[in-house]
Amino acid sequence: MSVTAAIRDRDVAQLPSKRDEEWRWTDLRGLIRILPTPSLAFRGDVGVGPFDELVTRVITLVNGRGEATIDVPPGETAWVALRVISRGDGAHSARVTIQVGAGARLHLFETYEGEGGYLSQTLLAISLAEAASVERVVLAADSPGGVSVSQAEVSLSPRADFAQTVATTGGRRQRIETRVSHPGGHANLRLDGVYLLADKAHADLTTVVTHDGLDGLTEQLTKGVVRDQARGVFQGRIVVAEGADRTDAKMGHHALILSDRAEVDAKPELEIYADDVACAHGNTVGALDEDALFYAQQRGMPETVARALLTEAFVGQVIDRIDQAEAREVIRAWAAERLRA
């Protein structure tokens, strides 16, 4: 089952369905009865992206047109904005290849910007050579009618450093998937996420990390706020293979549900086949702390202000972990705007 094959063959039967364990909460087969026709090329103006000012290169992929390659030579530093844009009601897919040479650095600011009722898929293959470093910040602003699947395969080398933060408001169905092959060897991995969902939005953050060597570090923190009839899905799997001793892996997922009809489905999984491993995971789903809310109101904050302050602080703990200061402020402003609405 793959979205790629379904779009290529215009065959809904190949879409993932709830019968596929990994897609049980994001059932595309059940949603899409007829596969949309291929998207037409879009000739209109797509404006500027939220990160354009921070980078030296902007790659724009509209309706799946164009293949993008980012190649950072050893020792160099690159600042790239990758804009994946969907316009209209068709189906399309795009492919992005990213190679970061030994000791090189890449600041990758990726956006999904949608209008319409499209089916969009993006495949990213990201490889980091020894001691390479990547910070990937993803701001996903799909349209409420859009179905979007982004799948990244990340391959790390020893001493590499890969840090990712996904910030999303979801879509009609949206899946942002990251699979990381972690060789250990003092490579560091951070996989974070923030989802802020309202109305009928759906966001699925799925990560799979496979530790294959000694001395690997993985840190994951995802937080979500869901209201109305929105649905958040978090699936996080960390596999520590035999021989990947001294792996240190932490996973946290915490969600606030602000309405009776909102839903959060979470599946944290740790599979450990190695020795001397430090693994921890925490998962909580609940409401805002009423005692803290009263405390803030007693000090003079109206309830709406108090709620916004506390929810911003809740997700702020993820946003604070973004290394690049300007990108961090873009995401912080994005969260503030959503939460104060």
């Binding site: 702390d289 009423e290 005692d291 803290a292 009263f294 405390y295 803030a296 109101q297 007693q298 000090r299 003079g300 904050m301 109206p302 309830e303 202000v305 108090a306 302050l309 506390l310 911003e312 602080a313 809740f314 702020g316 703990q317």
Partner: protein
């Protein structure tokens, strides 16, 4: 005229009657102590006056300067100058103390139709007040109360009090969890706020705090009502004789 006037106040928590006809007046410029045994309704009184959800008023009135307090939302009461120093101050993860206090102060100012305080003036004020309470200014950049000791949390309450400059102060068991040095610092902070146009209600189980914050009047709360009132000597008498005879009187 009394600043706070509580008449025949009845309140329930989870359907259980806690306040059963409490009457109390605190004039401007005075400090009144409320003493009483555990379970008498001391904390309930503080929460009813500040409007906490779950504390249901079933009868009686409470006014501040003649205005019905009970009809106002908690933040509206705060904007009119009601401040509660919590027995157990809450931890607010992810919100630096300075951000929390500035947000509260500006919300109060907006509610009163005043301009927001400018950032430099706010920081100057925070530095002054923190120094007076021997609070390291760096601590104000950390998440409010998260990982703070009991004494630090109480000092942070007094700092907020000093910054927000309320008119009617309720101190709920402010001495609990404080060693003698912290108690002295906190009391000095409270005493610095005494003024002819402010009033205070000091709720305490023990007389010790009243050695530092000297009350004008002392009331004994037992069984949900004020059962005795007197001068500061009443606190000493309670310290020596205990609450037993008042509990019997209330029963």
């Amino acid at each position: 005229m009394s600043m706070l006037k509580v008449e025949n106040l009845h309140a329930t928590v989870d359907g259980k009657k806690i306040l059963k006809g409490l009457t109390l007046e605190v004039p401007a410029g005075e400090v009144h102590a409320i003493m009483g045994p555990n379970g008498a309704g001391k904390s309930t009184l503080s929460y009813v006056l500040t409007g906490r959800a779950g504390y249901e008023v079933t009868g009686g009135t409470a006014t501040l300067d003649g205005e019905d307090l009970l009809a106002l939302a908690p933040n509206e009461r705060a904007a009119r100058g009601v401040f509660l120093s919590f027995q157990y101050p809450l931890e607010i993860p992810g919100v630096p103390a300075l951000t929390f206090i500035r947000t509260a102060l500006n919300a109060q100012r907006r509610a009163r139709g005043e301009d927001e305080i400018a950032a430099p003036a706010f920081l100057k004020l925070a530095r002054e007040k923190a120094a007076a309470l021997k609070i390291d200014f760096e601590m104000l950049k950390r998440a409010l109360n998260v990982g703070f000791s009991g004494g630090e949390k109480k000092r942070m309450e007094i700092l907020q009090m000093a910054m927000l400059s309320p008119r009617f102060l309720i101190l709920d068991e402010t001495d609990s969890g404080l060693d003698i040095d912290a108690l002295r610092i906190v009391s000095e902070g409270v005493n610095a706020l005494r003024s002819p146009d402010r009033a205070m209600l000091v709720i305490t189980h023990y007389q010790r705090l009243l050695d530092y914050i000297k009350p004008d009047r002392v009331h004994v709360l037992a069984g949900g009502r004020i059962v005795a009132s007197g001068g500061p000597e009443l606190a000493l008498e309670l310290e020596a004789g205990g609450y037993e005879r008042y509990e019997k009187a209330a029963a």
